[in-house]
Point group: C2
Chain length 346, copies 2
Amino acid sequence: MDERNRKVLQAVIDSYIASGSPIGSTVLVKRYDFGVSSATLRNIMAELEEMGLLTHPHTSAGRIPTDLGYRYYIDSLISIENDNDDIEGHLQQAPQLHSDDLQGLMEEASLFLAALSHCAGVVVAPSEAEASYKHIEFVRLRGRQVLIIFVTSTGIVQNKLIELDESIRQQDLNMFSAYLDEELEEWTLAEVRKRLVEKLEEEKLLFIKLMDETYRASQDVRERESEKVYIGGASQVLQNPEFADVEKMRNLFKAFEDKYKLLKLLDRSVSAQGIKVFIGSENPFFEMQGCSMVVGSYKAGSNVVGTLGVIGPTRMQYKQVIHVVDYTAKFLSKLLSERFQRGLER
Amino acid sequence: MDERNRKVLQAVIDSYIASGSPIGSTVLVKRYDFGVSSATLRNIMAELEEMGLLTHPHTSAGRIPTDLGYRYYIDSLISIENDNDDIEGHLQQAPQLHSDDLQGLMEEASLFLAALSHCAGVVVAPSEAEASYKHIEFVRLRGRQVLIIFVTSTGIVQNKLIELDESIRQQDLNMFSAYLDEELEEWTLAEVRKRLVEKLEEEKLLFIKLMDETYRASQDVRERESEKVYIGGASQVLQNPEFADVEKMRNLFKAFEDKYKLLKLLDRSVSAQGIKVFIGSENPFFEMQGCSMVVGSYKAGSNVVGTLGVIGPTRMQYKQVIHVVDYTAKFLSKLLSERFQRGLER
DNA sequence: ATTAGCACTCTATTGTAGCGAGTGCTAATG
DNA sequence: CATTAGCACTCGCTACAATAGAGTGCTAAT
């Protein structure tokens, strides 16, 4: 494909993203300076259409990009400044990430993404896959109720209320928790579960129910607390005129509610670092046809621990959105890494 | 207003709720047996319109209820069986409320409400206003990071990660938590805050930062953990044809995202027991014009602790929805009260 | 008080025509 | 040979008119 054709493709896509209506040859002549007539542009556009990069809704309408066209646009045409330095002060608005608890942070990040992209912001909470056991606490509440508090090395706190068959003194509970702390210290969650199973089989312990529930709690940390999906500003996506079709929109919102599916999708799509874009039909879920996703990953220290991104119409401001996602990912990484780093100077 | 007029009003509203299109006099003659002609019905409907209970979109269309009409309908016309016994097995489907943690329970309840009402389900988490101090725990993580875990008598666990200026031994942390446990045992959260402030002023303590953060944590319990708003199945509301208007819908979803406003609204509206219905323009928020809310409250033991309900189009199946909300409120109350009751047999 | 009958109103639908934007092709051009 | 001017053609959009249908409101009769 020659240089001029590329320029025309870019012009068409840029214009279409900006205006939302099909782009005709005369519009291009007026708005850009290719130095050729509208007839030539028509020929070029016909070529691009033959290549599958453009299409038109009906014979007498202007051109709009196909999914393939967007793909080419993103892969080859838009230049994203990859300046790692000067992360801050790049956008007009610095993210408002103030919370000191993880949940709040995730929520704020998703809202920030949504606000700046006019799409729905999505953040997957850090995976606790590599977390290790830190501490367990049993608190006797009323009667035979006991609150189990499970703490991981990353500071995730999972709590669970259980009901024992018989009353246990707080003192005994303390003893048991001290025992577990010693036995399980510094082990990864997977190892902790393994050891607990061993212990349960090996000896008939007094605190069998507590042990069992501890096991469950450790499981919960992985299955529930970690890898939660936060969706913020879903209503932003409704601003876009493409969602005038109610049926389409309903599908999208349904997809938002099935967070588990979403989680799988996001987690699988981002294997390594860098921003990835999924355009229209490239999305694996039927409900998301007509939508695009821009996703990235964030780190704590040097490990990728979670993913974030936005979901919006195929016609979105890719350049800007990619920037926002990239920026937010880096900012969040920085925040988490500070926590993590300072932790290491013990 | 005479009996016949009431019957006609009810027939119009019932039909309109069922069909969604304006109801003309001939339709009423066909579908109901009033023993009068369509002309008479027209006269009656004209009367009802004069009273402000009905209206019609244009001269040659059938009648639809006004907000006032709905109000009358709900207050006087529909009969809600108030059978306190036989709570279970009344609906076709028992609520799937299995979670053993509060968060999960609230989420499940909101989804259940949504599924059965085809509206958005809303649940406000129990207020911790009357909770009392139970336990505090400080866990030393990496370096100077300390995790504060604050537990209330109701089993709410609030955690917070802080960074100290200097490292403290876990042993000292334990000492301090034991001290606080003794000082603050059984006090209500409000009292706890008061005492902490006193202590902070009274003596220059070693653990001043810890104390300060403990104060904040106790505050967070009330402000954040308690009275969280759970919205489930928002996409259900999109099924209703009245939300073909995208602008209207966008407003509604925006309202959903402003959970704080929603909280105030729900909390204030339900003062005591019983189900309340807010119709269209009765809703204080502009964004909710054209929507109705059906809200109720649920109890733990004998205290009302939270509210729940649904938000949907003004034209909703009030009879059924009221039933669902009532049922869910009772079911949730039962669940929470069991927890609470068993706790009391200490 | 009720009702039959009728004129009237308004919506929704269908058909028709014209406009305009845009394409695709052809023939002319440098 | 790439480019371009010109033109016929297509298709969607809008406006307009005509029509059918549903429903009301009024009046006069019962």
